[in-house]
């Protein structure tokens, strides 16, 4: 396949396997982490907005900043 004789060769990268695969792997991890993190932030923001709205709705019924026993 391609520039390599066998799949095993491909995995070994002529002795550079550690460096090549580690760099590709770490990159993949970083990029995926970035994507997930961005997604999570988005969810967080949406969650906060909903929360805010719920609180507002709740407070319309019982406006209360006073202490009680």
């Amino acid at each position: 396949m391609g520039a390599f004789e066998s799949f095993c060769d491909f995995l070994q990268m002529n002795g550079y396997a550690f460096y090549v695969w580690l760099s590709y792997g770490l990159t993949l991890v970083c990029v995926i982490a970035l994507l997930i993190w961005s997604k999570q932030q988005r969810k967080q923001v949406e969650h906060e907005i909903k929360q805010q709205e719920l609180i507002k709705a709740a407070r319309k019924h019982q406006v209360q900043s006073e202490m009680s026993l």
């Binding site: 709740a58 209360q64 202490m67 009680s68 026993l69």
Partner: protein, 199 residues
């Protein structure tokens, strides 16, 4: 019975009070008054054992005060509230510390913080911060309450609620010691102690 015997405190070569003695029976409220700088805070702190007295000793039901910490609730000028944590977290930590179990949300509701429980205390107004500190009075099962100007920044309705809270605590057989520059209603005050400003 809470008894203080011949308390003397000297700060900066100034005698703040000396030979001060008083006794407080259960279900009584001691209202400590005095002009600014008279030594009220100093007295309260030494009562609970946070400050060394020059002389004298304090006993709660015959036990030296240093040995009955679970029976004391002290709320001072400093609120013991971490500004970066939310009100709920702050309360939860205090509950853990004093080994109590309670529903934080409903408690904080009671001091009027509904909807503000999850934001850092830093963003609350002065009075709301103070409420986070005062919420301890709603759960505490300490017998002796020592409160240093609890009404600071609290609005008028809040002050009323606090007063009824004192009454309830008294009815349950507790002791209350309060200082404040706002007058307490006569019917809840059992003893008055006036410190004078000495130089």
């Amino acid at each position: 019975m809470l008894s203080a015997n011949q308390l003397t405190c000297i700060r900066n070569q100034r005698i703040l009070f000396d030979d001060l003695s008083f006794k407080l029976e259960p279900s009584q409220l001691l209202y400590l008054t005095g002009p600014n700088g008279a030594g009220k805070t100093t007295l309260l702190r030494s009562l609970v054992g946070l400050q060394q007295l020059h002389q004298g000793e304090v006993q709660l039901s015959g036990v030296p005060i240093a040995d009955c910490s679970p029976d004391i609730l002290y709320i001072g000028h400093k609120a013991a509230v971490n500004e970066w944590l939310s009100a709920k977290q702050n309360l939860q930590h205090w509950l853990n510390l004093t080994d109590q179990v309670a529903d934080c949300e409903s408690l904080l509701m009671k001091v009027g913080l509904s909807g503000l429980m999850d934001i850092p205390v830093k963003f609350l107004s002065a009075g709301q911060k103070r409420r986070v500190a005062l919420v301890k009075m709603w759960v505490s099962n300490a017998k002796l309450w020592v409160l240093d100007e609890p009404f600071t920044s609290i609005d008028i309705k809040g002050v009323e609620v606090l007063n009824t809270l004192f009454e309830r605590h008294k009815a349950a057989g507790g002791y209350v010691i309060v200082t404040s520059h706002q007058t307490l209603p006569d019917q809840i005050v059992d003893q008055r102690l006036e410190l004078s400003y000495r130089f």
